[in-house]
């Protein structure tokens, strides 16, 4: 590889920012006390966690005692769905989620179905946007939970959460949003959004892995999923991840401070990339909407070829991306998100997600476009499908 590697997979994870790292370091060694301890060591850790909680509460516009630290997005999603289902099962057993949720939601819903809950899915259009009129027809008096991502991790679609929350509340259901991809990128004011619960993760916004938070509106009942000690006001057992929490808060503060600037810059990279790919690569489909998507996200299906082989072709050229093909996920099914958008399986297998970050450059985008053109051409020449369909259209 004669060029510096290029990282276009920020929706998977981001590098920890130096400011967060520096804030975290003392809490591994010098200030190592367990916040549950009564002595001075413990109190010093409590102070750090309280400050972090205050900072996050301020960003999302809630009270500090509505922020519960978790191990990340998966735990937040699990806790929200399972916690509400179990706490409100006497009121009803009807749960509504979107079909493009993260696996953390889908797998939990599947488990709850086995327990006797009824799971119903929202409808999404070809861009992944929730159909609000359809949602109005499926919420019922016994609906206890309505959950939808604020922005989708694969195709970047930003969802009308405020409207979804209004529809949920009209029937007295709890509204949850998974803001793992959105927090720190979009404005995530829980009052404006009108949600009762919101999950967040640190490592998507240049914070550390293994830490996140769940906003739970005061007055809501939830059942704990991690039962144990007195941590997180008796709601979430497990020794507090002090350095992780400190790093999360610092990363979130920086993301929030620079939110508009980053949004504009990363969007400009994405737009340049999308425009060039759409005009310079034949037989390509942009998945998700052209506008109203996460600034970082560009997701394409390349016709006649398979995603994993594109991923490794780009990897060989030093470009890191991810794919929604079955072969990349280790399962036999291609991305459930792309199938929910109505893509034929063949196109779902040929999908690649590019997700940009604040450190990427225009030069990297341009180099990637040239590399993609060559890689796609090479793979198409190997593909039996390209000959069959391509000769007619590709002149």
């Amino acid at each position: 590889m004669d060029k510096k590697p290029i990282y276009f997979d920020h929706a998977a994870t981001t590098p920890l920012c130096k400011e967060a790292l520096e804030k975290m370091l003392p809490y591994f060694t010098d200030v190592f006390g367990n916040p549950n301890s009564q002595h001075a060591y413990g109190r010093e850790s409590v102070k750090a966690v309280d400050e972090a909680r205050d900072a996050i509460a301020k960003i999302i516009n809630c009270k500090p005692n509505e922020v519960y630290f978790t191990s990340g997005g998966t735990e937040g999603d699990n806790w929200a769905l399972r916690g509400i289902a179990h706490a409100y099962k006497n009121k009803g057993k009807h749960l509504i989620i979107s079909p493009i949720e993260h696996a953390a939601m889908l797998a939990t819903a599947k488990a709850l179905k086995k327990e006797g809950f009824e799971i119903e899915f929202m409808k999404v259009d070809e861009f992944g946007v929730v159909d609000l009129e359809h949602l109005k027809t499926i919420v019922r008096d016994d609906t206890i939970f309505v959950g939808c991502m604020l922005a989708n991790n694969e195709v970047g679609t930003i969802e009308p959460i405020k409207e979804i929350a209004e529809i949920a509340h009209a029937k007295g259901a709890v509204c949850f949003t998974d803001a793992v991809q959105a927090a720190g990128v979009l404005k995530t004011d829980v009052k404006e959004l009108g949600v009762d619960m919101m999950s967040m993760s640190a490592h998507k916004i240049y914070g550390p892995k293994g830490v996140g938070a769940l906003y739970i509106r005061n007055g809501l009942k939830t059942e704990s999923i991690l039962t144990g000690g007195h941590q997180e006001r008796m709601k979430r057992g497990g020794t507090t991840n002090v350095p992780g929490i400190v790093g999360f808060a610092e990363a979130f503060k920086i993301a929030d401070r620079d939110r508009e600037k980053n949004f504009e810059y990363v969007s400009s990279l994405r737009d340049r990339f999308i425009d060039r790919v759409l005009t310079e690569v034949p037989f390509v489909k942009l998945n998700g909407p052209r506008t109203g998507r996460l600034p970082a996200n560009a997701d394409f299906s390349f016709k006649f070829i398979e995603g994993e082989s594109i991923l490794f072709s780009l990897d060989l050229a030093g470009i890191a991306v991810s794919s929604g093909s079955a072969c990349s996920s280790g399962s036999l099914e291609p991305s459930h998100v792309l199938l929910a958008l109505g893509l034929p399986e063949e196109l779902a297998h040929g999908s690649i997600r590019f997700s940009f970050g604040k450190h990427n450059t225009v030069e990297e985008v341009d180099y990637a476009v040239e590399t993609i053109k060559a890689a796609v051409q090479r793979l198409r020449e190997m593909s039996p499908l390209f000959k069959a369909e391509g000769e007619i259209k590709y002149v």
Binding site: F304, I305, E306, E308, S309, F312, L316, S325, A326, C327, S328, G330, L332, P334, P344, E345, E346, H349, E381, M382, S383, P384, L385, K387
Partner: protein, 123 residues
Amino acid sequence: MYNEKVMDVFKNPKNVGEIENPDGIGTVGNASCGDIMQISLKIENDIIVDAKFKTFGCAAAIATSSTATEMVKGMTVEEALKLTNRRVVEALGGLPAQKLHCSVLAEEAIKKAIEDYRSKKAN
């Protein structure tokens, strides 16, 4: 997840293409599963003198297509029918477990191409 050998073959596969007027051709798999493999053979006196492939699939599918076509060149039809996916995988120095089905496709495509050859010959 892939070893260096597999990545090397994926990077520089051999026998890409389609033989004109092949003596036998076989296509297996389907687009909805994410793998389609087509192998075409040139056969003289029951000996495979040339083999080419076209594959829609992952890096493992492309690497096994290349390796399997390399292996059958020079084999008799009988020998080629005995080529197992295990031997193709061994020649590549192993594949991740979830990728083994790709090597099965190569074995099946060769068998199908030979069937095609035999049915053409019988007519």
